[in-house]
């Protein structure tokens, strides 16, 4: 009975922030920039006992890091785009496509599915107690692959679902990494 309670509690800790992220998109039809704020708050509020710093500093840091990842991703996107512009006509990038997926969409896919998640993992590693092991790497890579697949299927990120999906995947990945010990213990065969 005790182990079921533990299991439910663990699942709750992992799933709850994801649900709140999704609900925030459903109930608050607001600009993406506010959802970045929510993301920073949700991540830290659900993991206050896992931070390296005091609660207040952690909350402030979390919000700042969330925005930093957001703006740096956009900055890198425009920066690389600007460099590309020096060599090619970007309109022509749209002419090169594979199965209807053009090169310009690939350029847009990178900040969504690569830059921002990588930055997010790097930033939150400084704020939260995260183990650097193969398990963490697999989770990180899986989340990036999921985002790439989503981006390839729904190119252009033309709706709010894209942002909701991104946050859900990132929160799930962070929670799986943060609670990896508990998860491994749960699924590890017990010695009799």
């Amino acid at each position: 009975m005790g182990s079921i309670k533990k299991l439910l509690l663990l699942v709750g800790r992992i799933i709850s922030p994801i649900l709140i992220c999704i609900l925030s998109f459903i109930f608050f039809q607001i600009d993406i920039v506010y959802h970045v704020l929510f993301f920073g708050l949700i991540i830290i509020l659900f993991n206050l006992n896992r931070t390296k710093y005091s609660h207040i500093i952690s909350v402030i840091f979390s919000v700042c890091l969330s925005y930093l990842a957001f703006f740096i991703s956009i900055g890198v996107y425009f920066g690389i785009g600007y460099l590309l512009m020096q060599f090619i006509d970007l309109d022509k990038l749209e002419e090169f496509s594979i199965y209807g997926y053009d090169m310009k969409s690939v350029h847009l896919l990178l900040p969504f599915a690569v830059y921002s998640p990588v930055l997010m993992f790097l930033f939150y590693k400084t704020l939260l107690k995260i183990n650097k092991n193969d398990y963490s790497k697999i989770v990180m890579c899986s989340s990036i692959v999921s985002l790439i697949i989503y981006g390839l299927v729904r190119k252009g990120f033309e709706d709010e679902y894209a942002a909701a999906f991104w946050q859900s995947i990132m929160v799930l990945a962070l929670q799986l990494i943060i609670y990896q010990k508990e998860l491994i213990a749960l699924f590890k065969p017990k010695n009799r």
Partner: protein, 625 residues
Amino acid sequence: MILSLTGCEKDDSFKEQAGDPQVNAIESGFNIEYVESSAISKNANLAKQLSKLLTTPENLMGKGERTELTLHTQIAKYISSEDGSYQSYTFHVSNTPDGVGLENILYASSDGGKSYRIYLLEYPYTEEKMMNSFLPFKPLDFKGEDITYYPLNEESKTASIDCTVLVQTYCQKDNHEDGFYPNGETCPAHQSTSVLECHVQFWGGMSSSGPGGSIGGNNGGSWPGHPNPSHTGSSGTGGAGNPSPGTEATSPLYLPMKSIVRKLGPYEDEAERDHIKEYLNDNPLLVLLIHMFLGNNPTSEQEALIRDFLDIHKVMPNAKLDRFVELNDIIQQNPWGLIQECAQQNGMDTQDYLDLYNHTIPQACQDRLDNFGAGYSNQPISDGNVPLANIDYYGVEITTYPDFDNDGNLDTESEIYQAFRENFTDLASGEEDDFQFTCDIPFNSTNTGDINWEFEPLTVQDGTDFISSNPISSILLIEADASGFLPTIATDDGAIMVSGFTNNDWTISTITTPENGSQPFSGNRQWGWIINQNGNLEFFTRAVDVASISTLLNIGASTECQQETYYDIAEATWQNLQQEIANWVNNNGGQATINTSETVRVKKEKIEEVLTDNESIDQILSNCN
């Protein structure tokens, strides 16, 4: 030895591309025409023979020094006798060795296409000579020229070849009096009835028995590069009728991709040059048309025109070269050519717009910009960076004059005009909720956002000058904003400078400032009043401008969608001004109604229609719907 067949995807036939068939041999009883891959592939046996050449070239060619042969099968010259018993297809060989000149592969059949004799033909001419002589759709005379041919299969090796000639004219059969080339030039046969005017065309077989021919030994099966060519001979002139057994008929097919690329160069970027070459390789019919257009000694203008056309053809593969040339001529003669008809149909006096188009800033404006120093400059219409140009007219008709100064008397026109100027920045500033962006905004399913814009003087003095009797060179900034982080990135501020002023109107010109960068539009706009055809006072704004989109935003959005968004924002801005003026007049005791706005832009679809449709350009341009 490798034999490769290049591209077989084009389906259009020459006739469809170039209009009615014009290429017919009449004196000889032959028909000559260009056929494309779709027609070639319908001939199952020929397709099989071509495939055989592709898959087992060594069976046909033997082992020689040539290790690769690239056959261009997208287009062929098809020659057929009137009774249909004789037919031949001539293909261009792309990878001719240095010094050989032109190589063609000939497939000839005398049994209705059941079996083919295959030959390699060699024209040992210089590139210059070929460029000058083998003009597509033009007659040429091969009198006395030496040609070499190599039989490639058993059927051709055993055939007893006579020399013959193919007399070719480009007029329709029995239609010399009305015959024309595809480019509209009069057919030579139309000019004279003499035999010489029916220009002699060469055929590829040679022997002593044909008219004007000479003999060569038949060793059979040799390959270029080997010392024993099968036959050499010269073409003859005159002669007519279906080929007798042992004769073949061909006409040289020359696709000068390399020469055209060289003519259009120099390309500093090797990749760009290769790209053009590859593109031409995939579009052989286009190569023929370009070759015909450039002719022997193309001018730099012709070459520039072809470079432009190639850029267009890449995005609009159905664009016709002759239509592009015609369109270019229209615009050269009249920059308004594309929109004049529709502007007039919409009641817009093109002279007003021509004045605005030609309006330049006076010296006082230039002096002020110069005094400001770096970062301030005029932004003329030529700085616009999108394909669409805009002319527009927005009017508000005042049927009852208002009393702005509340003196109990209706204001005069000049008082209303002055009041309009004094309130201009308030009236022109505005906002629109849920503005529909044409470009996709990430994480925004409706691609909408609230936008607003504000006109404000650069300095307090500019504000004072703007409403004074001498507003020349006063500057207004236009601050734009939008709700939401990502739409805000897309906002584009601007600045304008008063560059003309009368008692009826004032004209602004767009400028670049360090504060707001470049203005989203380049050109001139006028605000003012007239007494309209109803005898009423009418406030108006009209402009000739071209959007200057943010190149940085091009990273995320195409030029096309940005240009649409820019023009839509302009429309929202001036429709808002109309509404504001009407409300302002109505709220001050007057009566005003908004007139339907008029905008004329040449849309991409219209240009596409002009370049691809068979309807005359005049007809297309007069259709303003």
